[in-house]
């Protein structure tokens, strides 16, 4: 490796953060430029990784490994495979778009972008780390900027939402830490290397316990019912770009943990827990859908729809089959794109109307024509209309799971019905009906807003029509993972 591209991916934002911190805080324009340039470079780097990626290799590519703490056998070990690649591209894409969407931030701009860039480092590091110690470091690094980003720039109950998010995730990750330590001390030779750990055949009882410890950490992040209660608060209070990151990337860190750590290292534990995973998934899908249906706050509705959609990822994981897990990974990507777009749309509406109360709107389709078009498009993607990415992912998941858990899969289908209900009901309440005279003066989408939404729509459509575009990157790695599981 001449050019450590993954290291640049992780630490370029950190350099950007230092640059922002050295900029005088009055020079807000320069600060925004630095953050945007860094995020854009990241996106380009992620595309470069995409180009360099070998499609036929299901293993780790572009690995960078350096000894970090020899006394603990901790390595600085980065690498990418078909599972992390979609997540890295998703993170880089959403980071860039959310950065552009952050121009609306007026207060304490310097601190905002410094923390935002630190967040990018944490997220990319989490997806690229292949050493459990390093993974944990990045996992926790994400927490701190997120706390501030919600707590300083959030809505009315921001302080409560921020600390709730922080404490939930911290509690979960501490149990994950215990699990990691248990794995380390039980492995021979003792190592934190995620790839080498796959060779260890841990005893079944040990795998069950450690799987549960890791599950707690990941489940809170996803969040899996009943650990989801921090999510509506955090999403509702967070500023729009941070909601995008939270729903688009942070939730995926939880399910990514299953793909990267729990399943390959503890296959026996994964099989043992799979039925419960399926049941929790179904509960999340149905519960999230019903609660979303009852919401009058647009943002809360999208937040609960995330609980429902992430349930499908878990359902795919529960199947332990190639089809289901491919679908689950695709759903992670697709949900990141679609929910990111939905949050941007909610934010656009809120910026104009200063309310998110769905019952207050109506007839906006006549006032904001471009907005209406985009909202309908994204809603269709979210409810699983064939031809858009959500459908492909959910269909694959249901297909992969049906053979194994027919009842759970059948029940989960209710979730798709519910998604149609709450999305269409939302579209109806916002866009259709009589124009409320209060909203007659609302302006349509600005160029900047369209710029942030257009790439997401293109990706949704492209994957929906021609899913092999992304599946070809994922399939070899998923096949290898399923091989480990059986």
């Amino acid at each position: 490796m001449n050019f450590p591209i993954l290291t640049w991916l992780v630490f370029l934002p950190l350099l950007g953060m230092l640059a922002v911190m050295l900029t005088p805080k009055q020079n807000e324009k320069l600060i925004k430029q630095i953050a945007t340039v860094v995020s854009a470079l990241l996106f380009l780097l992620s595309l470069k990784v995409l180009m360099a990626f070998n499609l036929h290799d299901g293993g780790i590519q572009l690995a960078e490994k350096v000894m970090w703490i020899p006394q603990l056998n901790v390595h600085y070990y980065l690498g990418i495979d078909g599972i992390s690649l979609p997540m890295v591209v998703l993170t880089a894409l959403l980071s860039l778009l959310a950065c552009v969407a952050s121009y609306g931030i007026k207060d304490r701009v310097k601190e905002y972008f410094a923390l935002y860039l630190l967040l990018e480092t944490g997220m990319l590091g989490t997806f690229l780390a292949l050493d459990l110690f390093l993974f944990y470091v990045f996992w926790e690094v994400v927490l701190v900027p997120m706390y501030f980003l919600i707590g300083i720039w959030g809505g009315p109950r921001k302080e409560y939402a921020a600390i709730k998010f922080f404490l939930y995730t911290l509690a979960g990750s501490l149990f994950m830490l215990l699990g990691i330590l248990a794995i380390y001390f039980t492995s021979t030779p003792q190592t934190f290397d995620m790839i080498a750990l796959r060779q260890n055949n841990f005893a079944a009882g040990f795998q069950h316990i450690v799987f549960l410890a890791l599950f707690l950490g990941f489940a809170i992040k996803v969040p899996i019912w009943p650990f989801h209660t921090w999510l509506p608060d955090a999403h509702v209070e967070a500023p729009t770009p941070i909601s995008v990151i939270l729903a688009g990337v942070l939730l995926k860190m939880g399910t990514y943990g299953f793909f990267r750590i729990s399943y390959p290292i503890l296959p026996e534990g994964a099989h043992w827990f799979a039925p419960w995973m399926g049941i929790l998934a179904a509960i999340g899908i149905i519960y999230g859908g019903f609660v979303a249906l009852a919401q009058t706050d647009f943002k809360k509705l999208v937040a609960y729809s995330s609980v429902s959609h992430m349930g499908f990822v878990l359902l795919g994981l529960a199947s332990c089959s190639a089809m289901g897990m491919n679908g689950a990974l695709l759903q992670m990507f697709s949900h990141g794109v679609l929910t990111g777009a939905l949050f941007l749309l909610v934010g656009a509406l809120y910026d104009r109307a200063h309310t998110r109360d769905l019952s207050a709107f109506g007839g906006l389709g006549a006032v904001m024509k471009v907005y209406a078009g985009i909202l309908i498009f994204v809603s269709m993607g979210s409810l699983g209309l064939p031809g858009l990415s959500g459908f492909v992912a959910e269909f694959m998941i249901l297909l992969g799971t049906f053979k194994i858990y027919p009842v759970i899969t059948g029940l989960s289908c209710i979730g798709i019905l519910l998604a149609a209900c709450y999305m269409l009901y939302t579209v109806q309440r916002v866009l259709l009906g009589k124009v409320n005279p209060k909203w007659e003066k609302l302006t349509d989408m600005t160029g900047r807003e369209i710029f942030t939404l257009a790439p997401l729509m293109i990706v949704t459509l492209a994957i929906g029509v021609y899913p092999i575009l992304i599946l070809k990157f994922m399939t070899p790695a998923i096949t290898a993972l399923v091989g480990l599981l059986s």
Partner: protein
Amino acid sequence: MDPIASLAYFKPELILIAAVFVILTLDLAGLSKPWLGYLSIAALIGSVASLSGNLFDTHWLFFNLMIYDGFSVLIQILVLFMVGLPILATIGSTLIHERQKGEFYVMMLALALLLIIMGSTTHLLMIFLATEAVSLSSYLLVGSQKFNKKASEASLKYLLYGAVATAVLVFGMSLLYGLSGTLALTEMPIRLAKLGPQAQGAVLTAMVLMLVGFGFKISMAPFHMWAPDVYEGAPTPVAGFLTVAPKALGFLVLFRVLTIAFPVQYHEWSALLVILSMLTMTIGNVFAVSQNNVKRILAYSSVAQAGYILMGLAASSEVGVYAVFIYLITYLFTNLGAFLVVGIVEQSEGSNLLEAYQGLSKRNPFLAMTLTIFLLSLAGIPPLAGFIAKWFVFASAIHIGFISLAVVAAVNSAIAGFYYFKIVKAMYLSPGDKESPIRKNHLAFTAVLIALAGTILIGILPSPVIVFVQHAFMSFRTL
């Protein structure tokens, strides 16, 4: 080794003894106070610089009354920071009355000497003398601001609790001496083994009594009652010093006593320490949650931290020993750093309440950010020093199979996150009513920067610290 030959390994102590007398005299002669402070720091640096030769050779000094091993070297280096940083922060501060600064520096230097001696002995008589001398000096330091009623009250409380603890400690030691007929810890296991099974009850009683005595020094629950009041009442630089220095030495001595004198009773004291560890961290964390005085929050947090360190001691495996000392080293920089920032804010605001911290991120972004980093480190967030420490204590518990202890510690760490972030919230999230920037005090800021550097560097590159502790442990094991 006889006394004359021993002096070659006694240079750091000699330098400190000389400095105590010189600075005392210069104070009387009327040298300006800042210069006394600089001289004190120079003496501390000189004492560390005089360490020479192979640091990890083990030598017995003064007819086996003192020992020179890796851990005593470690303490000599740590003392430079434990004593040096509070002195540096005090030179330009008003928290210690200007007229009393001369005495303050002399007291601190004397304490540095006593701490080193406390850390370099395995002889019960020396342990008792050094521990008591450290305690007496601490009582005086706490009450040194004699016009401050709260400080006087704290000092008296400290003295009364301390006296009881000392009595219990001496009682334990006397029992042990009566049973074994020796004061040297190294001979204890053989002598105690000769006693036969019927005397084991008495041996355990002596052990538990000594544990109680040291438990007081390290603020172990249920003997921690004095800690919050004393730390709150003491002048802030002293409070910071007290949370790190006597505690670290208390742990070192306790570690030596338990592992050298009572290896046979490992299962008994280990089981006891597991329970006390859970109790200490839980009490510390639960009581910290409802406090609204930053100094009291940090005081209860330091009780909780003692609980985490006890985890490593309870395990006392190789990882456990590393955990204890790595924790003490990282905790030194982190907690002292936090108290230094608190001191700067207190001097400017005259208050330690959370309200005084509101809007600090606007009034002095540097202070707010450094205090946040110290608090994150205390909460064990990577990549800071506190995380490495937490990693080791958790590892020691998991490694030896104390799963329930590890789970209790994990839950506790989450609780701790709440109150540390109460302070962060006040600084960053709550708008303050004052906008005026906080005045810079360059020396105090330098002290904060040193602590900050330690907190961040150990977090990112922990290897040198781990290697040092490994060597120290190896030299200790050759005993």
